[in-house]
Amino acid sequence: MSEALLDMRDLCVSFRTARGVLPIVEGVSFQMARREILSVVGESGSGKSLTALSIMRLITDPNAVMTGEIWFQGRDLLAQPAEEMRRLRGGAIAMIFQDPMTALTPVYTVGAQIVEQIRVHQDVSKSAARKRAIELLGAMGIAAPRDVAGRFPHQLSGGMRQRVMIAMALSCDPALLIADEPTTALDVTVQAQILELLLKLRTDFGSSVLLITHDMGVVARVADRVVVMYAGRVAEAGATAEIFQSPQHPYTMGLLDAIPKLYGPKLKRLPAIPGAPPSPFERPPGCAFAPRCAHEVPACDTRPALAMVAGRDVACWRAGVR
């Protein structure tokens, strides 16, 4: 896939701890095409956020060890020198975060913070950068962009701040926008508006979006393709429509079953996946989901590899057997 915008190959992230090396992300691979919205789904601790941070090389813990390759526009990001990586950050790759309440520096106006990013990457005057910042804020659906640009973060609502964050991320026309749970901290109506905004990005700005979330509802609304992660590995990956229609991995099935349905018989209780994901210290040697799986077979003692089944990649021995 030479035309892929992002090609992650066998990414592993582990941390050196007092109890030995602790693997969190174990061999994650996926590709993203231009203008694609790819969603990485998983519960807390599945390694989805670390995967996203790895692309930006934003894991600052000195004990973190990253291996693998992340190809972006013909370059391996993990092999780039720090200075080159800094130029890419906020330039070709931008990122927005979960909590817009704390993600902006409280002592500067939001306009100044956008201007700062523009001027790090482009040789433009302050007034030109400011004009661009106001333009971007307007494009994010902010009603009085000039006025908002002069405000401090604490004077804006959560939804407004997330719009500011997105405007800032887009200020240097990134080819890839990584959104790490961008709607989790927002209330439902604002969530919907922010998702609309993300959907528009590929047409208005030509950006691909890597959307990290734990919310299947969000995935269904915006993603072209989904990567389902469990315990640091890819469980299932494929087109959103196909995966929602016929999930192959029992974990994906469990996630989808846990969404309340509008139609069909009324349920007493929403089905849930029994148990909890294994802690990184106690990941089983075989299939990590086996202890919680209703369909466990003897083969699950060895780890299943990702294999193409029914038009998507699945890591399950029983995939396609049914």
């Binding site: 800094r86 906020g90 700062e116 790090v120 604490h154």
Partner: protein, 324 residues
């Protein structure tokens, strides 16, 4: 704004009244402090004592005495010493103020610059040997009492090594006014500045390091990284700027306290005739008018410093602007 200012003024008046009453009462409750005995001198007969008491108004009830003293201090400004009759108090304090201001101002510049360097370097090099060395030195600096350090500095620069090239430029202890000889002013104050600054460099350096380390873990620093800023921009524009908020309030209080008479120890050790020295002498002689004047001056300055800090706060932290 106007209301806030008036509220401040009201607070100041309240604080001044409370402190002056307290000082006044403590003085008269102190055994052996009878001013009449001091004014009359040794071996005065009871008759002379009574006469002195009467002529100084010391035989009047305490509240009356208090109001008389306040009148002389603030309104007619002709309060005189109990110990050296005829010595006016207010001009003596006014004369001492530039000395204390020179001392504290210079020391403050030194300690702000050095502690910023210490804090930033230690935070950037966190966990490495340079951080540990700086933090150890800071702890040593904080732990050394200023009067001891001052004596050691005097011993080295005035006696032991005074004849070597290193310290031959150090003038004799004392103060040279800035207006009469700027170079002499500087030379006479360098050693006291450094001595006074040591404790604060240690303290501020440690606080700044802790603040910076905390700030570097905040979400907005991750955002700054994600924007592609360099480490230098991240530290100076974002982390340091946020850490300054706490430091400014600390600085205002320390500066106010030092100018208000807290520099007493260093002034005495280095023979600088500032307000602290005046207070020290007044306390030694139990000279109530001087004690009262020095305490009033100190209280005014601390309240003023507090007000300035509050105003600065609004400038450096936009969140505080909307809070009121």
């Amino acid at each position: 704004m106007i209301i806030a200012l008036f509220r401040r003024l009201g607070e100041m008046v309240f604080v001044l009244v409370a402190i002056s009453v307290l000082v006044f009462l403590i003085f008269f409750a102190t055994p052996g402090a009878d001013p009449a005995a001091r004014i009359a001198g040794r071996g005065a007969t009871p008759a002379i004592l009574a006469a002195v008491r009467h002529s100084f108004g010391l035989d009047q009830p305490l509240p009356v005495q208090y109001f008389l003293m306040m009148k002389h201090l603030f309104i007619t400004q002709d309060l005189t010493s109990f110990v050296n009759p005829g010595e006016l108090v207010v001009p003596a304090v006014v004369q001492a103020i530039p000395v204390t201001l020179s001392l504290v101002f210079g020391a403050a510049v030194i300690w702000l610059v050095l502690s910023t360097i210490v804090g930033v370097v230690a935070a950037v090099q966190r966990g490495k040997w340079i951080d540990r060395v700086l933090m150890f030195l800071s702890l040593v600096g904080v732990s050394m009492p200023v009067f001891w350090l001052g004596e050691v500095a005097n011993l080295l620069t005035q006696a032991r090594f005074h004849n070597t090239w290193l310290f031959s430029w150090v003038p004799a202890l004392g103060y040279v006014p800035l207006t009469s000889d700027p170079a002499g002013w500087f030379k006479s104050l360098v050693i006291p500045w450094l001595v006074l600054a040591v404790t604060y460099v240690g303290l501020y350096g440690r606080v700044l390091r802790a603040n910076l380390v905390e700030a570097m873990g905040e979400d907005y620093i991750r955002t700054a990284r994600a924007k592609g800023l360099s480490e230098r921009q991240i530290i100076f524009r974002h982390a340091l700027r946020m850490s300054l908020i706490t430091l400014v309030s600390m600085f205002g209080l320390d500066f106010g306290a030092l100018v208000g008479g807290g520099a007493l120890l260093i002034e005495v050790v280095c023979s600088l005739p500032g307000v602290g020295m005046l207070t020290y002498q007044a306390l030694q002689n139990l000279d109530l008018p001087f004690i009262m004047a020095a305490v009033m001056y100190g209280a005014v300055f601390i309240v003023v410093a507090n007000t300035v800090v509050d105003m600065l706060y609004v400038v450096i932290d936009p969140r505080a602007r909307d809070a009121r």
